[in-house]
């Protein structure tokens, strides 16, 4: 099956209806199915400017191997569940109301589900994308512990993370990805490195780089570990 036939089959029937074994190559699968929403190579941020963030439909994946926990990724691709309550670009899924801005579920897009084979192949390829080995190597973070109360204070009062992120299914803001599942989804050094310098990972990130010192980054990372390990 050539690429054009494959693309046509995907458009018509969706991933689940492809003949078994048609997608032998994770790279081809990812490039065919994921590239229209996810960057598989570093975008030319200098030329695109911040407006790139408006048109982005999914998180960039060119450093997926530095970011995700492979086991989680493979499972999620088969049963995708929303991680960002207000979508990838929140202003696009939010509408004004008398009670303030609210998420309009009709404006949120669903992520397609992959079969077990497809998820395994896609994960294998995505985990081979390592654009930011240098950032991971530079991280000195070693997972540790923090008291729940101190972690929560760091997350809320001291740093205001809870304005945009949920640290439980019922607490926190909606514009950023939920963080009570971050420890299951993400590699520990990615978490610490991203908190310390989100702009190095993504020049158009909506996460402010606030120049936290190493201990503050550790406390926040350990809090994500604490709340993440409580998840089923």
């Amino acid at each position: 099956m050539n690429v054009k036939t494959l693309a046509a089959a995907l458009l018509v029937g969706g991933l689940a209806q492809l003949p078994a074994g048609a997608l032998a190559d994770g790279k081809q699968l990812v490039e065919t199915n994921c590239a229209s929403c996810h960057a598989l190579e570093r975008p030319d941020y200098g030329a695109l400017g911040h407006a790139e963030r408006i048109t982005r439909k999914g998180p960039p994946l060119y450093f997926a191997g530095n970011k995700f926990q492979a086991e989680w990724l493979e499972g999620w691709l088969q049963k995708p569940q929303r991680i960002r309550p207000a979508g990838v670009f929140p202003p696009a899924a939010v509408k004004p109301s008398d009670a303030g801005d609210v998420i309009d579920p009709a404006l949120l897009e669903e992520h397609p589900a992959l079969s077990a084979d497809e998820a395994r192949q896609a994960t294998e390829y995505l985990m081979s994308l390592h654009a930011f080995d240098d950032l991971i190597a530079a991280s000195t973070y070693e997972p540790g512990t923090i008291a729940a109360r101190m972690g929560q204070l760091n997350f809320s009062k001291f740093n205001g993370c809870d304005s945009c992120h949920q640290d439980s299914a019922t607490t926190g803001g909606f514009s950023g990805p939920e963080l009570y599942t971050a420890w299951q989804r993400l590699q520990p050094k990615f978490i610490a490195s991203f908190i310390a310098d989100p702009v190095a990972w993504d020049p158009n990130t909506l996460m402010p780089k606030t120049n936290l010192n190493e201990s503050a980054v550790e406390r926040l990372s350990n809090y994500l570990k604490l709340i993440g390990e409580e998840q089923p």
Partner: protein, 128 residues
């Protein structure tokens, strides 16, 4: 100056700036010269609201209400320098809430200036 005259003057100024921009791009506007409205939509609306009324989608989770940028009296009480400082260094830098983050590592000074200009448009030139 009436509001209509002010808006018309602003539009003329914008048009002139757009026409002249290529001439000065290399020196005066080294950044992509993205307009404040676009930057506001990307970085500010989550808390300050898609229309700038301080009622963004995150507000139910926030212990401090974000500034309503249409509030002419509150906004007029701040100088452009203070607004610039609040965006670049965060709310704490002007003795306001830590919930307003410092954007100085995400946005350059030209971009922050464009945001300040747009804030002035919201508060004082757009019927706010």
């Amino acid at each position: 100056m009436s509001r209509t005259t002010a808006m018309s003057a602003l539009k003329t100024l914008k048009m002139a700036a757009a026409l002249c921009a290529p001439l000065f791009l290399a020196t005066a506007l080294p950044a992509a010269a993205e307009d404040g409205e676009t930057l506001y939509k990307i970085y500010c609306t989550q808390c300050h609201g898609v229309e700038g009324f301080g009622n963004g989608v995150n507000v139910p989770a926030m212990s401090v209400q974000p500034r309503n940028h249409h509030d002419r009296s509150e906004m007029s009480a701040r100088t452009d320098e203070e607004l610039f400082k609040a965006v670049k260094h965060g709310g704490k830098s002007i003795n306001k809430s830590v919930l307003m983050p410092a954007w100085g590592e995400n946005l350059n000074d030209d971009e922050i200036n464009a945001l300040v200009l747009y804030l002035r448009e919201l508060c004082c030139n757009s019927g706010g």
